[in-house]
Subunit: 260 residues, 2 copies
């Protein structure tokens, strides 16, 4: 949001941010695909089975929670664009935020309401990972977890960016939205926010980024060039989850936005 | 190291790993370049100036140390390919390592000796960041730190991978190395490990990856296409630091390797 630091985000700066975030998502997923599924990381019985702890969160619960605690200490969640998966009992930042300009851009009630973290978590673990990774276990749990954290954070940031999209759209044309917000008409809002042509452009672009970033040039005789991850996975991810979840966030944000 | 899980790394698997790690380095640096310098993150006076704590490590010291503690708990440093910047007082892993195959590949004495973490840290903060980032402060310290951690870890992993390179090369041709190791002749070892033609291929390849991953397609009228980071920075990084540091690691590893 380099061009928006002073006056808050604009339609153009939000669009640029969304496009840049595509790179982060595509690359994070390609990095995760280096490792096999490593199911133990997601199992709530793994830690209790090996008897090292009494309670049994999964490794991913434990790692993401502790990572978010650490990120909270350095002020990550002072930024309205960052949404934690485990928001309870986050520690306070060890210094006061330096950049106050963004803090009040979103409507706080609407921003708190528009949260699809649980949907993202479930989608990533149950639907995306089986498509992204090969079955198997190579024991590289720490690297797997580090990659999972980056993927989850990148997806969450991108999807919850719908709040900024909704806010800038509302400010640009409040009359278009106010009537439907007053009538709590989520279908009409959804329709206002849906541009199939634009969605198709986005899907084609992320697929293309998957092709560009994930191109595997063969180094050994007899092997063909290929992709680290099937590029279609990225358009599928956007079409099935990222775009629909972003629109859920936008509609929920608008429905809870004060009209004054 | 997918094809090396059973028998330990091979010349071919190490080469593949190194090439794959280039992607991680190039992409991490491009991500860091999204944010300006944000000097406060590296200042040992920042936290004490704002009066929130008594002692004054820099934010980056504090964040990398705590991140490594967390990574140690999930077993990151059971993997000989991962080298922490703050190795003292690391917590024990909360579970026993699942993948024992790699644990004994490197010679432990040589592996402990061949450590250039302090060089990498200093190079990253003092030389690379000024080339990579624009001057300025946008207050996004948490995101900046998260990116710095990824860059530092990717560089450290790549450079310390020299230990694996040295070990596989030694095993493939012990007679070529033993004489110089016995005579502690580091110059002769350095010469044995230097292939200028290969180094030039590597530099050209990372520059090309910088061009591919960092290509900025203009979205606004009147703007020209460009690169998120000057692609030459990547060949410079490899030529000035990554390749020379890797060779330091290799020579130091070999000099401390037992010949039995």
């Amino acid at each position: 949001m380099e061009d928006s630091t002073r006056d808050g985000p604009t339609l153009m700066s939000v669009r640029d941010d969304l496009i840049r975030q595509e790179d982060t998502i595509v690359f994070s997923l390609i990095e995760r695909a280096k490792y096999p599924r490593n199911c133990n990381v997601y199992s709530t019985s793994f830690l209790s089975e090996i008897g090292d702890v009494v309670e049994s969160p999964s490794l991913i619960d434990l790692f993401v929670k502790e990572s978010e605690d650490l990120h909270a200490k350095i002020g990550m969640y002072d930024n309205q664009a960052e949404v934690p998966f485990f928001p309870h009992d986050l520690p306070k930042p060890i210094f006061t935020p330096q950049n106050q300009a963004h803090l009040s851009f979103l409507n706080p009630v609407a921003s708190a309401s528009a949260n699809v973290s649980k949907l993202i978590w479930k989608m990533y673990l149950e639907q995306l990972l089986p498509l992204l990774t090969q079955e198997g276990d190579d024991g590289n749990y720490a690297s797997t977890l580090a990659c999972d954290l980056l993927c989850l954070q990148a997806l969450s940031k991108r999807i919850h960016y719908g709040k900024f999209v909704a806010e800038v759209k509302f400010r640009a044309a409040p009359d278009d939205y106010s009537f439907h917000i007053r009538n709590k008409n989520s279908d009409a809002l959804m329709e206002l926010l849906t541009f199939e042509k634009v969605e198709n452009i986005v899907k084609a672009r992320v697929e293309n980024k998957g092709r560009l970033f994930g191109h595997n040039i063969s180094l050994h005789d007899g092997e063909e060039d290929g992709y680290k991850v099937d590029p279609c996975l990225f358009s599928h991810l956007y079409g099935e989850w990222v775009i629909p979840y972003t629109k859920l966030v936008q509609v929920d944000y608008l429905l809870h936005r004060s009209l004054t």
